[in-house]
């Protein structure tokens, strides 16, 4: 996609987010759902496949382009981007990077048109460290039989496709012997539990997914290769980390906008609280974090696209930006005083929403381990 076209895409997304989604945030929070008309408009616009290759009906956005869109998505409730986040991110990218041509042909055009893919890796004892994975895929004639339980799976209640990680080699230890399968949500034995009740990000749904003796054909094995699942998961997560970091930057921008406008209008002692230097200091700190985050994300995305760095940069960006937005949300609540603690005030909602970013797609601790390991073992 050329710059002029991308500028139009960015402009359309920015206008849509700010005029159509931002005004509906309270409704999304209260109903715990993205309104059907917003989902329809997002589908028509092409948001469900903007990172998928153009030959499969997507827009083929590079990571550098993706993050600029993510800065815009981050400005509103993260539930909006979650709706199509798994398609463009963790789930869709497994197919893009590791699927066979037939698998891409079968699924990517459908995803680009609004079908939803979920990424099913996490289990009770396989979160930060997937080596404890117990979901099994046992060869049976010309196919496999899957059984196991996944949890916290984003978009599971809406999914048409599950990208499922399962052990094909029961003897293998650690991250070896893990394969990835494309499991049609309509298959016999696929059961999705009730929606999880979460701290924040209302409108974005997660649930447990049970695979009870689910029979899939051998063509469901991603890339047609056993044992390649762990590497596929990691490749997809690396890209996702930079995207999440960009969402955090967008949210920090919004926290700043809310805080500045409040500080300019709310008065104490007869003057706007924004005139107090201690309040200005909080605004300056939010701004500085957002500014640093934006620069860092752009750099990490550029180095990802050129393949110069697909390890340290993405983890460093995710670590910094998710911690940064947590601090920004805390300060934004402080700027708002008691009002910042009240339901219905955007920064109160964002304070809860922001907490997730330090946990999923690799906790902050895991990002440090990745960076540290790369530095010490590989001397990067």
């Amino acid at each position: 996609m050329q710059d002029a076209e991308f500028a139009d895409v960015l402009d359309a997304v920015r206008r849509f987010v700010r005029t159509k989604v931002v005004p509906r945030e309270d409704e999304i929070e209260e109903t715990d759902a993205i309104p059907a008309d917003i989902r329809r408009a997002a589908t028509q616009m092409g948001l469900f496949g903007y990172t998928l290759p153009a030959e499969y009906g997507g827009l083929g956005a590079t990571l550098s382009q993706d993050v600029r869109l993510a800065f815009e998505f981050g400005y509103t409730t993260p539930a909006f981007r979650s709706l199509f986040g798994t398609n463009n991110g963790i789930a869709g990218q497994v197919l893009v990077s590791s699927g066979t041509d037939e698998q891409k042909q079968r699924w990517l055009p459908r995803l680009a048109e609004g079908a939803i893919a979920s990424f099913a890796l996490t289990e009770a004892e396989a979160g930060s460290d997937p080596s404890g994975l117990t979901t099994k895929a046992i060869r049976d004639g010309d196919g496999y039989v899957l059984s196991g339980v996944k949890r916290f799976i984003t978009n599971a209640p809406l999914a048409d496709l599950f990208v499922v990680f399962a052990r094909t080699d029961p003897a293998a230890r650690g991250t070896r012997g893990i394969s990835v399968f494309l499991v049609d949500a309509g298959l016999h034995g696929v059961r999705v539990g009730p929606r999880d009740r979460k701290m924040g990000q209302a409108g974005a749904w997660t649930a447990e997914v049970l695979f009870d003796q689910v029979r899939v054909p051998s063509t469901a094995l991603v890339g047609g290769q056993e044992g390649a699942g762990f590497a596929a998961a990691m490749r997809s997560l690396v890209r996702g980390r930079v995207h999440i970091a960009a969402i955090c930057v967008g949210m920090a921008d919004r926290l700043l906008a809310e805080s500045v406008s409040y500080a300019k209008s709310a008065c104490q002692g007869g003057q706007p609280i924004g005139e107090f230097q201690l309040v200005q200091a909080m605004l300056a700190e939010i701004k500085t974090g957002a500014y640093a985050g934006r620069a860092m994300v752009a750099e990490a995305a550029r180095n990802y696209d050129s393949a110069a760095d697909r390890r340290i940069g993405p983890s460093a960006a995710k670590l910094f930006c998710s911690e940064m937005v947590g601090r920004a949300a805390d300060l934004a609540v402080q700027v708002h005083g008691g009002l910042g603690y009240m339901r219905g005030i955007p920064v109160e909602r964002m304070y809860r929403d922001a907490r997730l970013f330090r946990i999923y797609e690799g906790t902050s601790e895991i990002q440090k381990l990745i960076i540290g390991r790369a530095l010490v073992r590989d001397g990067n």
Partner: protein, 259 residues
Amino acid sequence: MNIVVLVKQVPDTWSERRLRADDSTLDRDAADAVINELDDYAIEEGLRLQEAHGGEVTIVSMGPQKAADAIRKALSMGADKAVHVTDEALRGSDGLVTSAVLASVLGRTGFDLVILGSESTDARMGTLAAMLAERLGVPQMSFASKVETDGSKITIHRQADYGYDTVEGALPAVVSVVEKINEPRYPSFKGIMAAKKKPVETLSLADLGMDASQAGLAASATQVVSFANRPPRAAGTIVTDEGDGGAKAAEFLASRKFI
């Protein structure tokens, strides 16, 4: 049906707008430029009529080079092709000149239906539909909040303070639309990618058989003679409530003929 939608690029109403000190025309370089808000509704209506009746939607815009951005956006919403009239000599043209130029373009493209917004957010004259209809010798259907056509006849709801009038006319016609008429679509990514391949014909005054003496400030019947900034808002009247606040407020409103 051959549908032509008129589109104008205007300075963003959210940005600060200025007139130029030298000739009192709008400083188009000083502000972000966007499609005139009501034109989005005109484009949407054109596309809906095309979806229902077939045919083509052509965008026509008169404006500086950078109006090409507005044209591309209109094409990305789904219009088929565009005509861009641009010429240095057009700068400062008033409604009368603009309508003459656009009428000349419409004479070339032909049309069954011309759709435009009922006013632009910069000049806010709201007279272009009338001038155009007069020059073209076709019915003017203004302030439409609803449009229906069978291909030969056209019926609109003309929005008024008291409700709406149902107005009927024969095609070809000029229709100006109000916000209430529809909900404009957002350009889809596919539409954006397709827009750059759509034909845009660029015309100068000479291409239209006109010359500089017929355009711009010199040929305009109206000119901005002088302008001044809006005076700062005067301090309001404060009514102190001493048990009779309600009555005092009512008196104030009555004195200004609000009640």
